[in-house]
């Protein structure tokens, strides 16, 4: 009996010793609150549906777990990055049950945000830029911006843009916006020589729109666009282009910048119909389908874009399709492709970037008549970091492979 007891003791001693060593190897948590259980997690001041699925899943995982302030700070940082807001504060309070805590992520938007939305130097078109100031009062956002852009459209438009936006009208599923633009135009000689009667000196646009969330993540924007423009021809009266505008939009994101990989898919289909009913001078319908897919894994990123559009009727120059700028069919000049733009377009693009290095391939065609359709291609390379970009693009198959340099941000 005594031997059995000694044997049992001898066998048990290493086990006891091992357990003690393990306990010593794992130090106690440094935060005294780590013993408390998280009762609930809320994101205050913003719609949690705006967060990616993976982040929402991680927020749910936190509930029922022990409080980990470092983890909560990381989550706050992710929320801030995904919502693009000024600050997200973690607020921890006592829970309703003993030894439980409530966690609130308080989203603070900037009261006034000054923003340079676009800045571009194009070695063929020159400078373009856009800046704005936005202030938010009681759920309403007021934006006033200045723009001078020779890149996006056929004309260089310079002037102001004012916007009022409310994200929620009684329910988060309904929002509205009013946008007003007043621009003065400058034209390239290639456009002027081809259609001197189509150009205009100034353009004012007023666009009231409503946004309805149909089924997350599917949204519908619908409203009107009232445009007035003053033709450059002497003695010409002001013309109008008033249209019903609607866009069906899809935006889904899987993962976020904090994960090893993330994906994002955006798609939209829009129809703009300028009708006599709205006292418009030109009767036309414009349909556009667009899709953008982004995939990132570690430092590698692939972006694929596609656009197709067609116009039935004669649209004014500001509503015609353009390729050959800093974002579509880079390397080509829009005035070499079609100085008046086109009523039909098909475009595709593939970008690959590793860390700061980027290569891309663009292809597309813009045309009015089927026999004019001519597919163009271009390739390019550059550096891209935090929205800043420096790139050189070469047109392929053209008479002269003259490269175009782009430098700036968010173009």
């Amino acid at each position: 009996m005594k031997w059995a007891f000694l044997c049992t003791l001898a066998a048990g001693l290493p086990l006891l010793g091992g357990a003690a060593d393990e306990a010593l190897a794992e130090p106690a948590p440094t935060n005294v609150n780590a013993r408390y259980i998280i009762e609930s997690v809320n994101v205050l001041g913003s719609e949690s549906k705006a967060l990616s699925k993976s982040l929402r899943a991680e927020l749910r995982q936190v509930v029922g777990a022990n409080l980990d302030s470092t983890r909560l700070e990381k989550l706050a940082s992710r929320i801030k990055n995904e919502l693009r807001v000024a600050r997200v504060k973690v607020h921890v309070t006592k829970g309703t049950a003993p030894d439980h805590v409530l966690v609130n992520f308080e989203v603070a938007k900037k009261p006034v945000d000054l923003k340079v939305a676009k800045f571009l130097y194009d070695s063929k078109q020159g400078w373009s830029g856009e800046a704005s100031a936005t202030t938010r009062v009681a759920g309403n956002a007021f934006t006033l911006g200045l723009a001078s852009d020779d890149d996006a459209m056929l004309e260089r438009y310079t002037g102001i843009r004012a916007r009022f936006e409310r994200d929620s009208l009684g329910t988060d599923r309904l929002g509205m916006s009013f946008e007003f633009e007043d621009f003065h135009e400058m034209w390239n000689q290639a456009t002027v020589s081809q259609d001197p009667s189509g150009i205009y000196r100034s353009r004012q646009t007023f666009e009231p729109e409503a946004r309805v969330v149909l089924i997350q993540p599917l949204e519908l924007d619908f409203g009107f666009r009232f445009a007035r423009f003053q033709p450059s021809t002497l003695g010409a009266t002001t013309e109008s282009s008033n249209a019903v505008v609607s866009t069906l939009r899809y935006h889904q994101r899987w993962g976020s910048g904090e994960d090893v990989q993330d994906q994002e898919l955006e798609g939209s289909f829009s129809v703009d119909a300028a009708m006599r009913l709205l006292q418009t001078d030109a009767d036309y319908t414009r349909q556009t389908a667009e899709a953008h897919y982004k995939f990132r894994r570690d430092r590698s990123r692939v972006e694929v874009s596609f656009m197709a559009g067609r116009t039935l009727g004669q649209a004014p120059l500001f509503d015609r399709f353009v390729l050959g700028n800093a974002s579509m069919l880079r390397g080509w000049s829009k005035f070499d492709l079609d100085p008046l733009g086109g009523s039909n377009v098909v475009y595709g693009s593939a970008d690959y970037s590793y860390r700061y290095y980027q290569v891309f391939y663009d292809t597309g065609a813009v045309w009015d008549r089927p026999q004019d359709r001519d597919q163009k291609q271009s390739v390019g390379a550059g550096f891209k970091k935090e929205g800043f970009q420096l790139a050189v693009a070469f047109p392929l198959g053209g008479p002269r492979a003259m490269p175009v340099f782009y430098a700036g941000m968010n173009f």
Binding site: P27, A28, T30, N31, V32, N33, Y36, L67, S69, T70, E73, K74, S77, K80, N81, R84, A86, V90, H91, V92, T93, K94, P98, D99, V101, K110, V112, D113, L114, K115, V116, A117, K118, F119, E130, S132, K385, E386, G387, F388, M409, N410
Partner: protein, 208 residues
């Protein structure tokens, strides 16, 4: 002239009171850092300095842990000659469910790792400083010495990127950029210095 003696008297009174005030101020300032010498170790305390105050306290009351870096230095012979110094990291937290003032816990991170719990804010700070004593072996009692205590709360984690969060896909936010550039480099550091002294001048509180 009857006014001259009065003016002279006022002049001396003002001078003397100024001197007294200066001495009092110096005495008060030097008392912010209190040194004791026992068992060949120089011990630091600063009962009138609250290094939890301000932003660290806001973080503590929000159930976050706040790391503090504490450094003690002893200079000998000349004020720029470091005889010995010690640096350690203390992680402080505040128990949000604790009903009494004894809600603070401290973990001394560097080996030997130590923990103290159920402390008031004052006691928690005193405990941190009590871990920062310096060995005075090799110093004579008459050698001129200077002492310094530095305390800094570690910054909370920040956004990565060259320009913080000011650049997004929707543009560069000048407001965020101004905010980013205006941020202080780190949490303010509290530095307390003890004027010239010798070990013999310190109260003889040597242990048995």
């Amino acid at each position: 002239m009857p006014t001259r003696p009065i003016k002279t008297w006022w002049f001396f009174a003002a001078f003397l009171s100024g001197m007294l005030l200066a001495m009092l101020a110096e005495a008060m300032l030097s008392e912010d850092l209190i040194l004791q010498h026992r068992n060949r170790r120089l011990e630091f305390s600063a009962p009138r300095t609250d290094f939890f105050a301000g932003q660290p306290m806001v973080r503590l009351r929000n159930a976050a842990e706040v790391p503090f870096i504490i450094k003690t230095t002893l200079f000998s012979g000349k004020k720029d000659h470091v005889f010995i110094s010690a640096v350690d990291r203390f992680i402080v937290s505040f128990d949000i469910w604790e009903k009494t003032e004894k809600a603070y816990s401290v973990v001394k991170v560097e080996a030997p790792r130590k923990t103290a719990a159920h402390l008031t804010a004052k006691d928690a700070q005193a405990w941190c400083l009590s871990q920062m004593s310096l060995d005075t072996t090799g110093l004579s009692g008459s050698e001129p010495l200077w002492a310094r205590l530095e305390v800094r709360a570690e910054d909370p984690p920040r956004d990565g990127g060259l320009l913080g969060d000011s650049v997004t896909s929707s543009g560069i936010s000048l407001t965020s950029l101004i905010d980013f550039m205006s941020r202080p480099g780190s949490q303010p550091q509290k530095t307390l210095e003890y004027p010239a002294f010798t070990l013999d001048q310190l109260k003889p509180t040597r242990g048995s």
